[in-house]
């Protein structure tokens, strides 16, 4: 089967030369910080599980700033402190690791 034939069943995506205006420098800066926080959660998953099992945590700059048993509770804590939820990575820490099956 040729590569062209194989591609027929997929959507043809394209990498744009220029970013749209909505993807501005501020968004990219936030993206990089949030990605660092996700990586920090990945690499500290076992430790976080022992400390925050079955809780939601809000991480900012590789530090757990808030914790709560519910999503509503942690959002409330963030907003009550005068901060914005979009500045945090909010993550649920399960008691056990979860495997994927698609």
């Amino acid at each position: 089967m040729s590569e062209d034939t194989m591609a027929d069943s997929t959507v043809h995506v394209e990498v744009k030369k220029q970013a749209s205006a909505c993807f501005d420098a501020k968004l990219v800066k936030t993206y990089r910080r949030i990605r660092e926080d996700y990586l920090w959660i990945f690499s500290n998953e076992a430790t976080l599980r022992t400390r925050y099992a079955n809780e939601y945590i809000a991480v900012e700059n590789k530090t757990v700033r808030f914790r709560d048993n519910t999503m509503e509770g942690i959002v409330s804590k963030i907003t009550s402190s005068g901060q914005r939820t979009e500045d945090f990575v909010i993550e649920y820490i399960g008691e056990h690791p979860v495997n994927f099956l698609f």
Binding site: V28, E91, L101
Partner: protein
């Protein structure tokens, strides 16, 4: 172009990206899992609900999709842009935020808010499928990352 994919402890590849489409007022963060078993990039039900995507006016895909559960016909969300950081240039040293245009991405039916998965990183994610991954000819695992090169 090089895409650096973050690996978790099970070696699944994760990408943090921003998604934009005509239904949004601004790009929204999204967590994508590398899925070579997915023909097209697909937003799963939890993300469809989380992102408040209105599926009522969306067309259904003409071709059904075989999932681990059963055969489904996803909705088609048109004119989607997904932005992510890549490396370019000599020795891939230049960090660039690139936008990928999708004529459409699949949307699974939205999950009822009451039944959404509690976990975000492990639960609420969507799938980066072969429509995008086929752009990358060389794949290499090293040091906790998956390096995809065009």
């Amino acid at each position: 172009m090089r895409l650096i994919v973050d690996l978790d402890t099970n070696y699944h590849g994760h990408i943090l990206a921003y998604i934009n489409c005509p239904q949004f007022t601004s790009p929204q963060p999204i967590h994508l899992v590398i899925d070579t078993g997915s023909t097209n990039t697909t937003l799963l039900g939890d993300d469809v609900t989380r992102l408040s995507i209105n599926c009522t006016n969306l067309m259904l895909s003409p071709t059904p999709c075989q999932t681990a559960h059963d055969l489904v016909r996803p909705y088609l969300l048109p004119n989607v842009e997904i932005g992510m950081e890549v490396r370019e240039g000599w020795l891939n040293r230049q960090r660039r935020f690139r936008i990928v245009e999708f004529p459409s991405v699949n949307c699974m039916p939205p999950t009822h808010p009451q039944f959404m998965t509690r976990q975000r990183v492990r639960g609420a994610y969507s799938l980066l499928g072969m429509d995008f991954l086929r752009l990358f000819k060389k794949w290499k695992f090293a040091g906790g990352f998956l390096f995809l090169d065009t």
